[in-house]
């Protein structure tokens, strides 16, 4: 029975004029936006989380530059951090370790190809293990660095791909960095973080010399002792920093960030963007729904005579109602289907552009079956809701009046 009605409704639907299909644009835009957004948003969220995986709650990061500077470390023009700060910060009792790190950009040559990239420093002594642990770095091939390694490097996992030098880097290869030859002693396991997977690691003394850094460092990482109030520790650090750099409250030329806060800030920004797009999507869905109501009224009017005929041959009001409601729901669902296809294409396209720009699969489009199915069901429901009043009008038509209706 239901299937027969479905068939009749589909039959009506496929005979529609272009004009009535155009009214689905609202539904289609709305669903496309929702699908693309949820798809990308989830992908982005998990990507961001993975970026911050290495940042545990007991870590505070200090960088030069005002307010949470989020560009590549060291790219800011303000006075760089000095290594002398480490000694001052170590005086804070709640700080277990204070570690300075350098991140420098430079060029590397291998297989007759030159690539621009980042080098990151590894501290000597017992701080080395802390950094290794913090970043979660492990060797996939070869070994990690140790104290006294001169002109030896560990490279990120992306170097195993062809796209940096045209051929994979292997343990034992020699790579030229800034005019000096380095031996690759290890290749790191994949971390899923495009910066870490593309970095070259060398000991800090080697890096300082190679890049002529003097006392400048890119960032200082403070690891707190167990069960320390992180906010208080952050304040103590800021106090020391202000004193050392001779700046007043509110005029800081540095930033002190709790790893967790950074993640939250980013997440809430993302949330605001998503909320905005959801509002736009809701508006287009409402407009789309009104469009469907409108075409359904037209359709009911056009089919007045058929409604009369169907009643004359035994259709109950309920049958007519179901027929038109189904048609309306299917109209919504058709819009939703196009929306899903466009939304998936949009999400994949944006993810692709993103990966081209960043050289990594940081942004992924995660479009689950549940999302697609849910959107389809949702657009069907919107169609049905939009079709209720026209379907009631059709159902309530007086058979004789409907039959008298001239086309």
């Amino acid at each position: 029975m239901f299937l027969d009605y479905l068939r009749l409704s589909v039959n009506n639907l496929t005979r529609r004029k272009l004009r009535s299909w155009l009214t689905m644009i609202g539904i289609f835009i709305g669903i496309a936006a929702v699908v693309a957004l949820i798809g990308l948003g989830e992908g982005l969220r998990s990507a961001i989380s993975s970026q911050f995986d290495m940042l545990s709650p007991d870590i505070i990061t200090i960088q030069a530059g005002g307010l949470a500077a989020f560009g590549p470390p060291g790219s800011t023009v303000s006075t760089p951090l000095s290594n002398d700060l480490v000694k001052e910060l170590e005086k804070i009792s709640d700080a277990e370790y204070v570690i300075s790190r350098s991140i420098s950009s430079g060029y590397a040559k291998f297989n007759d190809r030159i690539a621009i990239g980042m080098a990151g420093s590894m501290p000597n002594g017992d701080k080395r293990a802390i950094v290794e642990d913090m970043v979660g770095i492990e060797a996939e091939f070869g070994r990690l660095l140790k104290d006294g390694d001169q002109y030896k490097i560990v490279v990120g996992n992306n170097f195993m791909k062809d796209d940096i030098f045209g051929k994979p880097v292997q343990v034992g290869n020699r790579i030229m960095i800034q005019d000096k030859y380095f031996e690759v002693v290890g290749i790191a396991k994949k971390l899923g973080n495009f910066m870490l997977d593309g970095v070259v690691l060398m000991n800090e003394d080697v890096q300082k010399e190679l890049f002529n850094e003097g006392d400048d460092v890119s960032l200082i990482v403070v690891k707190a002792r167990k069960n320390v109030n992180m906010e208080l520790l952050k304040e103590s650090i800021e106090k020391v920093m202000r004193k050392e750099r001779d700046v007043k409250v509110g005029k800081e030329d540095f930033s002190v960030e709790l790893a967790i806060n950074t993640l939250e800030t980013l997440n809430s920004t993302l949330f605001a963007v998503q909320l905005f797009v959801y509002i736009i999507a809701s508006i287009s869905l409402i407009v789309g729904g009104i469009g469907i109501t409108n075409t359904m009224y037209t359709s009911v009017l056009e089919k007045t005579k058929d409604i009369g005929v169907m009643k004359a041959i035994g259709a109950k009001n309920r049958d007519i109602f179901v027929l038109f409601l189904l048609e309306s729901g299917l109209l919504g669902m058709a819009g939703g289907l196009i929306g899903i296809i466009v939304g998936v294409a949009m999400a994949k396209g944006m993810a692709f552009i993103g990966s081209m720009q960043l050289g990594s699969d940081l942004i992924r489009a995660d479009i689950s079956f549940a999302l697609a199915f849910g959107s389809l069901a949702f657009s069907f429901i919107i169609g049905c809701v939009a079709g209720i009043t026209p379907a009631i009008r059709a159902a309530k038509m007086h058979p004789v009046d409907a039959l008298r209706f001239a086309k």
Binding site: M1, V309, M310, K311, A312, I313, G314, K316, H398, P399
Partner: protein, 233 residues
């Protein structure tokens, strides 16, 4: 004939349309009986109330005053869904303008009344094919109404009217839109139905020649039943 069961009875039926302040009496106290197996023709000038009367017999409309009994049940006392069920099961409509659903094929049009009565699919299919054979259009079952001639469309409409094996066929000027020879062909089917299957038929017509196929003719004028000689004066 008189001892046969009455299947339709109109008792002092009035139908009044209110057009603003003006009242139009389409029917003014009609009383009429239709017996099982009878072929009744209703004649009368345009606007005399023939279609109005037919629609009420067909449970499409209810009287303003008076009663209509279909198999001894007062249709005024039936609910919307009961009326729909009666229309679907007990009555087969044939219209002057055929009124097939244009988007459906000949076969689907014939199947539609059975769909509304929840017939099993296999039964529907079989019955639709038998009916198509009966109206000699089984070679046209996949055609849309627009691909059929007027006479063919009306034969499909006859097949559709018969789909649920109704007690009575109501035909409102079934040949009104057809030329005389095509009209004759359609009338042949209706007469055959009446003679061979004993189907009860009530038919409205303008044309005396068409009316002669019937057992009995009633004349309507200004919403009342009148003797033949008064009808067209």
């Amino acid at each position: 004939m008189t001892n046969k069961e009455t299947i339709i009875e109109l008792k002092d039926v009035w139908k009044t349309y209110k057009m603003g302040a003006v009242e139009v009496h389409a029917l003014r106290g009609i009383s009429l009986k239709v017996k099982r197996g009878e072929f009744l023709a209703i004649m009368g000038p345009s606007g005399s109330g023939k279609s109005t009367a037919m629609n009420m017999v067909g449970c499409l409309d209810v009287p303003s005053k008076g009663n209509i009994y279909l198999l001894d049940k007062d249709i005024a006392k039936m609910s919307e869904s009961e009326l729909a069920k009666v229309r679907g099961k007990k009555i087969g409509f044939i219209f002057q303008t055929f009124n097939l659903i244009n988007t459906l094929t000949a076969r689907e049009n014939i199947t539609l009344p059975m769909v509304f009565q929840d017939y099993p699919k296999e039964e529907r299919r079989k019955r639709a094919e038998d009916l198509l054979k009966m109206v000699e259009l089984d070679n046209r079952m996949g055609h849309k109404p627009s691909e059929l001639s007027g006479g063919q469309q009306q034969r499909i409409a006859i097949a559709r009217a018969l789909a649920n094996e109704p007690e009575v066929i109501l035909a409102d000027e079934p040949t009104g839109n057809l030329d005389s020879s095509t009209g004759e062909r359609v009338m042949d089917f209706l007469t055959k139905l009446h003679k061979e299957k004993g189907t009860t038929i009530v038919m409205v017509t303008h044309d005396l020649k068409t009316a002669r196929h019937a057992d009995r003719i009633e004349f309507l004028k200004d919403g009342q039943i009148v003797p033949e000689k008064e009808a067209f004066t």
